[in-house]
Symmetry: C2
Subunit: 197 residues, 2 copies
Amino acid sequence: MPKVTVEHRTARHDQIVSAARRCAIEQGFHKTTMADVIRESGLSAGAVYGYFKSKDELVSAIADQALSSVDELFEGILASDQPLTPLAALRATLEHVVEIAEQPGGDVTRVALQAWAEAMHNDAIAGIAREKYSLLRHKFAEVARRAQADGTVDADVDPEYIAQVMFALIPGFLLQRLLLGDVTPKTFATGLTALLK
Amino acid sequence: MPKVTVEHRTARHDQIVSAARRCAIEQGFHKTTMADVIRESGLSAGAVYGYFKSKDELVSAIADQALSSVDELFEGILASDQPLTPLAALRATLEHVVEIAEQPGGDVTRVALQAWAEAMHNDAIAGIAREKYSLLRHKFAEVARRAQADGTVDADVDPEYIAQVMFALIPGFLLQRLLLGDVTPKTFATGLTALLK
C-alpha cells in the first residue's frame, strides 16, 4: 500500500467539500444526499465516507467554508498606516464578498443563506456561525476603534455597537444581491456615503 | 350542511397557517410534514388539505407572512409632518421587528431566515421575497427622499442607493439578533448615530 500523505488527504478532503458545495449551491443542503456528493466528487463511496461519516459532517464543513470570515482581507486593511474610515473598510469587504461570489464553481454566498437557516435548528452549524461572525464583527470593532483614534468617529460610543451596524451591512448586501440582484459595492458605497455625510 | 361563511374559512385558514408556522419555527420548513401540521392544527387531514393541497402551498403561505413588509408601520411613519430622519425610521422599524419577534407563538423572524434560504431554490418563494422586499425598500426610498427634501441627506444621491443601505440593516440586525443574541434597537441606533455623525 502506498503511504497516504497529508497533502493527499487534504486534497481529497477539499475535493469532496467542493463537490458537496456545488450540490448545495444547486439544490440546497436539504435535498443534497451523500449519493449526490459521491457522484459529483467522482470518488468511490468508500473514499467519501472515509472523510465524512455523515451528511451532517459534510454540511458542517461546507457551512464552515461559506461562513469563513474574511481574516486575510482585514489583516491587509488593518495593517495599513493610512487613516481608516468605516466606509473604506466596508467597501473593501463588499468588493471581497462579490469577488468570492463570482469565483468559478458557483456562488458560495448562496450557501451562507442556507447556513443561517440551518443554524436555527442545528447546534453544530449555530456554533460555527457564532464563532465566524463573532470574529468578523471583532474586526469591524477594530476598524471602529481606529476611526475613533483617527477622530473620524465619535470616541464616546462603544465600538462594539458601531461594529454591529457595520457587520449588519454585509448580510444585508448579500441578501439583496441574491434576491433583488441590483446592488453593487458601488451603489452601496454611494448610498452609505450620502447617509454618513 | 351548514353554510360555510367567509369568516369561518378565513379563521380556519389562519389556524392552519399558524400551526404550520409553529412547526416551521421549531423544526424548520424541511423537516415539517403535512402530518405535523395536521396534528398541530387540531383539524382533520381532510380539513387541512381542503385549504392547502401540498406542503409547498403551506410553505408559500408561511413565507408570505414571515416576509410581510411593515406597510402599516411605514404608513404611520410617513404620514407624520415632522422632519423624518433615516435614523428615526430605522429605529422605529427595528423596534417593530423586535415586537413581532417577541409575539406569543414563537419568533417568526426565524422563519424569515428559512424563507431566504428557500428562495435560492424555490421560484415561488423567491417571487414572494422579491415582491415583499421591493415594497419595503421602496418605503425606505421614500424616507430617503423625505430626508433629502428636509435637507438632512445629500440630495444629489439616488434615493434608491440610500434605500439599499437602510434596507440592509434590517436583515443584518435580525441575523445578529438570532445568531449572536446581543443586538437591540438601542445598541444599533447608538452605533448608527456614531457612524452618521
